[in-house]
């Protein structure tokens, strides 16, 4: 049994969740009561939950520009990155993409979107890092009352919660006491699956979102192919 499934079972047991939940091998989906749902794990990342809260509670103002940079290892498909980051922007900003334009070149893509609220989303994506490399990303929400960001104001790359400067150097970011030992990315998979197990309606919602995201990715491909701004 994978460590992720073990951790998920631990949560299900601890919180006496009636539904059993089984993660797919790639950790992208979870099967609950015979139905398999996409997890959209990034939605469970604490940093995104906090950014969303800042938007929803009007800690920051109306979004003008949602800027995302994401550098990924070669093993992750660029369309997968695009899907994830489109959802991140739409989800956090409560935005819906209405137009999409993509320019791509090998392992890199530049995407610009117009949204229903006229906020612009820009995605600077790549899958050119070596296998196993950590994702380097930044999500910046520029509004007419302040900027919210998941990176330090003066930084483009992630900080860590703990640094070791010994004979060897190391960095760690631990974000979940119950799921200690998992990276933030893996924690999000377990938490996302757990939420669906508790509430399968969320799985249905995720499926609808996922289907829509697939159509956005397809529109982006069409845009790149035809060098056109695709209006949805």
């Amino acid at each position: 049994m994978s460590i992720l499934q073990e951790k998920l079972d631990f949560l299900l047991d601890k919180y006496a969740v009636a539904n059993k939940a089984t993660l797919t091998e790639d950790g992208k989906c979870v099967t609950v009561a015979g139905k398999t749902y996409p997890i959209l794990p990034w939605r469970s990342e604490r940093r995104f939950a906090e950014l969303k809260k800042m938007v929803d509670t009007k800690t920051v103002g109306s979004i003008s520009h949602f800027k995302i940079m994401s550098l990924n290892p070669k093993t992750v498909a660029l369309d997968e990155v695009l899907l994830r980051e489109l959802d991140t922007a739409e989800f956090i900003g409560s935005l819906a993409v209405t137009q999409i334009f993509k320019a791509e070149n090998g392992p890199a893509a530049s995407v610009i979107c117009m949204t229903d609220k006229e906020a612009v989303i820009t995605l600077e994506l790549s899958n050119n890092l070596k296998e196993g490399a950590e994702v380097i990303d930044k999500h910046e929400i520029i509004t007419d009352r302040g900027t919210a960001c998941d990176r330090a104001m003066d930084s483009q790359t992630p900080l860590y919660s703990l640094y070791v400067y010994g004979e060897e150097t190391a960095e760690y970011t631990d974000v979940d006491f119950e799921l200690y030992g998992l990276t933030a990315e893996l924690v999000a998979i377990v938490r996302g699956a757990f939420d669906i197990a508790k509430n399968p309606a969320l799985g249905e919602e995720n499926q609808a979102v996922y289907n829509r995201l697939l159509s956005l990715v397809e529109a982006a491909s069409l845009s790149a192919e035809k060098c056109e701004n695709v209006i949805l």
Partner: protein, 358 residues
Amino acid sequence: MKRLKIAMMSMTHGHTRKYYDVLKNNPKLEWVAVSTENEVVKANFLNAVEGIPCYDSDEAMLDAHPEIEAVVIASDNAKHYSQMKLLAERKIDILSMKIPTFDMEEYEKIEKLIEENGIICQVELECHYNPVTVRFKEQLASGKLGKLYAFNARNTTLSPVWAFPWQGVPELSYGKRVPIKEGNPRFRGGALCDHPHIFDMIRWIADSEFDYVFAHVAPNLRHDLEEEDMLSVVGKMKNGVTFSLDPSWSNMEERIKVPGPGWELYPKRMEVYMTANCENGSVVADLFGPNVCHNGAPNDRYTVQYTYFDEWVGLIDEFVENIRLRRQPKINLAWHKNTIRVMNAVYESIATGKPVKL
């Protein structure tokens, strides 16, 4: 080498203050005089610099100092042509601010003036004289990262319009009043006109010219500004390199009349970041990092202060050598033309909602 007798004109440009130190301290220069455009900038100058004769008109300064060999034109974009004409007719070499003009017919007239009068005209794009830029180029040139696939950059700043009002007037910044797009109350002349650097830099980094651009204007952060302050641009170079460029005024500011401590509302006045995505990895650079920070006077607010201010040193050194050796500047009018063209294409893309082929 004989010291170059240099002067400045107008003193209304946001970069004016950047020249004070270098013009006073560079041993290759003798700062002869300045002409100021109005009483406000005159007072600001006299408060900041001592011992340099200050005139109320360009002509008066040039008539009083026939020894002037070169001039830094530090005026609004709309005055550049007439001032260049005045200087060219007197065979005086020119350091132009970053936008000679957005009017391509006028641009050609300037080129003709410079050529016919045999003078040097260098365009001020100071990012080339930044050591991080040098390192960035070195990393790519080493070949270790493999082929370049994408270049992404931002040159975002606070809006200078409260301290340098002409930048908020479409006619003075863009050269004329042109609606940014149908149904939008704003006009060309804002953030894009302030930030040509990244449109220039990609041409050097990718070693290619623009193929097409596509851009969106985003809702203004400053609702009372009649020009655009937020926009985003993507596209491709002719060699296939993709790009994403952000020339916005996304760093909010206090609306103070004279730049100084406390100007920042967003913690940082300026961010110039560049990322190259290559076959075997990426280079991520902050041209002004690392920085120092404080939360002290005057607003007791978290403030980030960059530590590199010396771009003008290298820029002026090159300018002096270009003049003495009668050598074409790296950023000359002919080179810079395609940067201005693509900036106009960005406006066209915003207006039409379509990619613009160059």
